[in-house]
Every structure is written in C-alpha cells, then in structure tokens.
C-alpha cells in the first residue's frame, strides 16, 4: 500500500500511509487507540475504499470494492468485531463464503469434513462443527473466526487483535498456526497491543500515530520504551484548564467495593470525592464501559457494594441512580443511540432526564421548560437557531453539549462520562474540559473514561488504568504521564524514564 488516505467527514483517519508485507514474514502494526490501524486494515480487506493512494498485489495495482473481492484475491482478515453469524453452526460459518455444493444444495457431509479440517488446523478440534455459534463462549467464537480465515487459504492474512479474547492455551495454539503459515509462505499482518506477543512473532514492525505512518523497523531493534515513545509522539496542546488544589472532603461522594460482574469486571474498589475529576484509562474494551454501566444500574448480577456519601446505596436501574442522594448522571459513548432522541426537538431532548423539574402534577409546564432550556443553552453556549428544531439539525459537538446539558438540568452530584469527546472538534472540547473542571469546583464528583491520553493527563486529578476488567494502577498528580499511561495500559511493569 502506498500513499493511502481516508477521511470521514472532516476527520482524517489515515494520511498517506504506506505498508508493505512480504510472503513468509509477519508484519506487526502498532499504535494507540485511533492511530489509524483499523482504517488501514479495513481498506486492505475491501470494507472501505481509500480516498487516495494505491494498493498493489504481486506488483499489480488492485482495488477491492467489497470484502468478497478482497477474499477472492487471497486477502483474508480476522476482524476484532467478530464477523460470525450467531444463528448458524460453526461449520456453516467456517465454510460460509464458498460451501461445497451438489445439485445446487449445500453438501453437508463435505462441508463438515472441510470444517473439521479447518478446526483441526486451528488446533481446536474440541469445537463441534454442529455447535451453534451463539452458544459458544467468546474465546471459542474467536477460534471459529480463525478457523474460518484458515479455510479460505489466505495469501495475506490480517489478524486484528485476534488474540484479545483467547485463553492462554489458545494463544499458544494460534501462535503455532501463525508460525506454520509463515513457514508456508503466507504474508501476515499482525495487530496487537500486547508487546510480548509482538516480540515473539513479528519480523517487521510499523508504528502508526494520528493516522500517519511514523516508522518501520526490524523487530527487536528497538526497546519497549523506544516503541512507546514512537507510539505517543510529542504533540501537546494547552487546551486544558488549571487543576484545582483545594482540599477534598473526608467522606467520598461515592465508593465502590469489590465490584465484579460476569467475568468482565473483577473485584474493583475505588472512591470518588466531591470536587475531583478521576480518569479511567487503558486500552479500549478492558471493562471501562461495563464499570460505568454497573454503577448506573444497567447491569444485572453485579456483586459488591456501592456507597453514596458513606451510606450503602442500591442503584437498581438508571431511574434509581439519577434520583435520590446519588443524583448520578451517565454521559454515554454513543450519543446517537444512548443519548438523544434524534428526531425530537432540542428543547424536548434537554428535558428528558429532568422531566419532574419542568412539570407539575405530571403535566409539562411549557413556560418553566422554556426558562430552563434557555438557561442551559446559555450555560453551555450551545449554538441553536431555535430550540424547537430537531436535535439532529445540530453539529456533533453541539449535540454532545445537549447530552451533557440534559443531565446537568438534573443537578447531578456524580457525573460518569463514557469517552464523550469522540468526534468533537477541538474548540468544543476545550469548552467542555473547562465545564468539567467548573462542575468539580462546585462540588460534583466526576469519573471520566477517555481513550485519549492527552485528555486524561490534562483533565484528571487521578487516573485509574484498567486492564482485563481490573484496575491495575492508579496514577496521581505528576505521575500521570503518557509513558506511565501507555505502560500501564499495556500492563508492562517497566518503570517509565524520569
């Protein structure tokens, strides 16, 4: 691939990227969240089309309109988000793109034999070919996904975080398979956040950052510290408000003890104080989202205790969480699905979390609503032509302001934020950072999950880093550095340089 670029709206996801992979070698691709790795492989696999640049295969330029076209050319990708059909069997899924047929019908016997071959090649003969995918555990599904890729006899195999859901034994298996494929002359692109996996497998490494290729080097020629430095780069803008140094009250506004849930959250304990902005860090999908949902009463079967202002609280659902002493608010990750009723008006959306505050005896008081809506629009400087227009008419940044304002209208004591700044322009971000700090200074406790390390460093008094459903490290004050964050997120114990 050379000079490949891709833009989504105004956001450049990938800029003039180059990558070349050689048969019989494993090429590791590294980078932070949002560095452009996913876009890169989506282009290679024919899922999205590049805006610029070209892809050559065996020296000939190619372009793939669909994933099927890429597959036909021998490029097969094991995606991070599984591409399996839950209601079909393992065998159906493995042989999905090209099942053996007789008289126009799928030859089930032949299919079963092929599926068994592929499962054996992936080292997972324990999965029955007739098992429904939806009945398999996440790690078994991942193995089916790998078997499916093998069944297509790839010339270029792309593995995107393919081991993230696997057990240690499966990882050994998969490594064996990958090494065998390399020996057989397959070109392999390997994306992982696990440094020791890359150290074991990779022949070449390429680092991406902010959608650009930063460096390509032979594996083993750089130390972990140097690699981390390449990944985080040196871009730092002073968009953050000064942190507060005021003393915090003795009793925490909220404390969690030994929270666990369904194997995805493991024994989490921490407290939040009024006036504090506490960050949640780590790689994507280490349980941060589940932790916020557990606190907000969305998950069932959570064990452990939650105390609000020193007293045990039972937060059975979002309605309980937002009312009473907790007065919690959760700013969701996907504002379009969990935050806004897009076709309804800005004013209506602003009032959804605090309807009891603008109504009397169950009837919404139009004048009270108009008053509070105007106050919120003023406070957050939401750029609104008319509050009665649908909220979908606003830009992304202003929509996000509406989501936040909706919760502020309920006067929350505890605000949970689930990576709220994604896809928002820098100016709006800066205003929201200032707003968070202002809320904290007014005595609100804030828990802020972000995938952007700069944000965690700039906004937070403390940062708790999660890995595999547990808090592995808590960084405080000056200890919150990019080095420390990246190293903790990868769960490598190496001490950061001074």
């Amino acid at each position: 691939m050379s000079g490949v670029s891709k833009r989504y709206g105004g956001v450049t996801a990938l800029k003039e990227a180059d990558l070349s992979v050689t048969p019989g070698r494993i090429h590791a691709v590294l980078g932070e969240n949002g560095a452009g790795k996913s876009t890169l492989i989506k282009i290679m696999a024919g899922v999205v089309a590049p805006d610029e640049g070209m892809i050559t295969l065996d020296g000939k330029p190619v372009s793939f309109a669909t994933p099927a076209a890429a597959n036909a050319a021998g490029i097969v990708c094991v995606f991070q988000e599984l591409s399996l059909i839950p209601d079909l069997t393992a065998a159906d899924n493995i042989i999905i793109s090209n099942p053996p047929q007789r008289f126009g019908m799928i030859d089930r016997k032949a299919q079963r034999a092929l599926a068994e071959q592929a499962l054996a090649a992936a080292g997972t003969a324990d999965i029955h070919p007739f098992a429904l995918v939806r009945d398999l555990s996440l790690s078994r599904r991942q193995m089916v996904e790998i078997a499916k890729a093998l069944a297509r006899r790839p010339r270029v195999l792309i593995l995107d975080e393919a081991t993230s859901a696997l057990t240690a034994a499966d990882v050994r298996n998969v490594f064996g398979v990958i090494k065998r494929l390399r020996a057989e002359g397959t070109a392999i692109v390997y994306i992982s956040h696990r440094m020791h996996e890359i150290a074991e497998l990779a022949d070449d490494c390429t680092v991406f950052r902010n959608g650009r290729k930063i460096a390509t080097y032979a594996a083993g020629s750089k130390t972990d510290t140097e690699v981390v430095e390449l990944m985080i780069g040196r871009e730092y803008k002073n968009v953050f408000p000064p942190k507060s140094t005021a003393a915090r009250p003795e009793t925490p506004a909220l404390s969690c003890r030994n929270l666990s849930w369904s194997g995805r959250l493991n024994d989490i304990s921490f407290s939040l104080h009024a006036g504090e902005v506490v960050g949640l860090g780590g790689l994507d999908g280490q349980g941060q989202r589940e932790l916020l949902l557990a606190m907000f009463g969305v998950l069932r079967g959570v064990t452990g205790q939650i105390e609000v202002a020193g007293k045990p609280a039972s937060l059975a659902d979002p309605e309980a969480a937002k009312s009473g002493a907790a007065a919690m608010a959760l700013i969701p990750e996907d504002r379009k699905i969990e935050g806004l009723m897009l076709p309804m008006s800005i004013a209506e959306n602003l009032c959804f979390a605090a309807l009891d505050r603008v109504s009397s005896r169950g009837i919404i008081d139009r004048s009270k609503q108009a008053e509070r809506v105007a106050a919120m629009i003023e406070l957050l400087k939401i750029k609104v032509v008319d509050p009665d227009l649908p909220v979908s008419s606003l830009s992304g940044g202003n929509q996000q302001k509406v989501v936040i304002a909706k919760w502020l209208m309920n006067d929350p004591r505890i605000v949970l934020l689930n990576d709220p700044m994604r896809g928002i322009d820098v100016g709006t971000k800066q205003e929201l950072y200032a707003l968070l700090r202002k809320l904290a200074d007014e005595g609100v406790a804030i828990l802020f999950y972000s995938t952007d390390y700069d944000e965690l460093i700039g906004c937070c008094d403390r940062v708790m880093v999660m890995y595999d459903g547990a808090i592995v490290r808590t960084l405080e004050g000056d200890a919150i550095t990019e080095h420390a964050l990246v190293a903790s997120a990868l769960n490598i114990s190496e001490a950061p340089p001074a």
Binding site: L84, S97, P99, D135
Partner: protein, 326 residues
Amino acid sequence: MKDWRYWLAENKNTLVAIALFLFMFIIYASNHPAGFTANVVQTSANKATLLAFVAMAQAIVIITAGIDLSVGMILTLANCLASWIVVGTMGETLLGIAGVLLAGALCGALNGLIVIFGRLQPIVTTIATGAMFYGVALLLRPFPGGSVNETLADAMTGKLFGIFPASFAALIAVILVVWVPYSRSAIGRAAYAAGSAEQAAYMSGMPVRLAKFTAYVLSGLLSAIGGLYLTFFSYTGEAAYASGSTYTLFSIAAVVLGGVSLMGGRGSAIGAVFGALAFRTIGDLLFVFDFDPLWQPLFQGVVLLLAVSISAVGLLRVRNKLEWFP
C-alpha cells in the same frame, strides 16, 4: 456431545411447534364424536392447508428479518385470477395454474425489488403493495363469481387412496420441492445469515441481496399456491378484503407459534406450517368441546400469548439490561 444433540438444539423451536400441534390434534381427534377417521383428518387438513401455505410464505421472509404484510392480498389476488384462468381442458387448466403461480412470484419480486433497491422498510412497502394487489383483485372480480376446473379441485381437496388427504400431500410436496432445496442452498443460508447478522454476512462476502430477493419471490409464490387452494375449496373467486387481512395476521401468528424468531435468523418454514396447523386446531377443539364459536378469537389470542411468553423466558437471563432493547 453427540451429533444428534446439536441437531436437537438447532431445531428445538421447530420440534416444539410439532409437539404442540400433535398434542392439540390428539385431544381433538380423541374427543371427536366420529373418532379418529380419515374424514376427520381430511376436514382438518383442508382447513389448515391454506394457512399453512401463507405461513410458509411469511416465515421465509421473516427469517431474513423482514416481514411481508401482503401475503393475504397475494392470496386473494391469486384466488380471483384463478377463478378466470384455471378452467377448461386439462391443458388450459395447467397453463392457468402456471399463470397464477407466475403472478404470485411477480408480486413477491416487486416487494423484493422495492425493499432491497428502494431501501424502504418491508412493513411499509408490503402494506402499500398489498393494497395494490387487492386493488387488482377487485378489478378482476368486482363481484364474487367465476369458476374452476372442478375435477381438479375435487381431486386436490379429496383423499388419496381413500385415506390420505390430498391437500396434505400437496403441502408436503411443496415443502419438499420448495423449502427443502431452498433452505439447503447457498442462497438459503445467506438468507438466514442476513436475518441473523446482516453486517457480518456482508463482511463474509455473502450474496445478501440475492438471498432477500429470493425470499420475497418465494413468499409471493407460496401465497399464490394458497390462493389456488382457496379456489379449489370454494370453486369461485372473491376479492374479500377481510379474509385477505385475516390471512396476513394469522400468518404472523402461525410463524410465531412455529418457533420462527421475529428478529430473523432462526426457525424454519416447517415450524411455521405446524404453527399454522396448531392455530387452526384451536377452532376445532372448541367445536368438539361444544363451545360457542364466538369464543374462538379469544382462545386463539390466549394460546398465541402463551406461546410467545415461553419464547421470552430467555430474556430473564440477560445480564446487561441494554440487551432488552435491541
């Protein structure tokens, strides 16, 4: 686990539907004043066959996570058309049957094209096209009338070898000729995949569009077979709006009773057929126990609600409440 246990798990819903039907039918037949005779079976089969065809049609579309609210109107249209052209000599009659089936398939193809290329929602599309099909039916038969080749009609609704109901044999033949090859073809598998996880199906390079189109065409075809059978029973054609709408609604009820998931991706048309048979048996049960026929809608509703409740039990196990709102 053994192979057959996986097979059982995969086909659990269909087997439950078959068991439900057998349970109800045995109660019915053992309490029937005439006992379990060929005549009792023939009468039940004739009543249930129509709904069974329409339920199959509905199931095939619902498996792709769509819905076809025009099935009842395609049936009505086929009935009106058949009352004009399924007449005369054997050759003319056969040609007429082919014409009726072709018309049904074309109706289905129109639905499919609009849903796939117009990207309109199936529910709205098929309400609209259903009204159009009914309009054509009215033009064909402003008043009830027409006729059908009675020799053929009697043969298709009578008994084979004096025992086995012919309508049932036709139903089995259609399942073997249409459903079995379809469900085992690559297209049929793509249809299940599209209903289960359309994005994953696309990412796996499956022919998603062709599969959905085929599903709508088959739905039209099967509804037209239902319309032919209506003509064989009634010897006449009638553009009856209420009857068309009722078939559409009952087809959805039968599909649900038959263990096909309304979310798509799960179940089989065979389950839907048994769902239809079970749904029809409710009325017969009321008859043998001497209930006033006025009770029938109430009982059908209760049975349907109970069946749906059973399939909702899985929601009690959900650990993340957001999964309640797909």
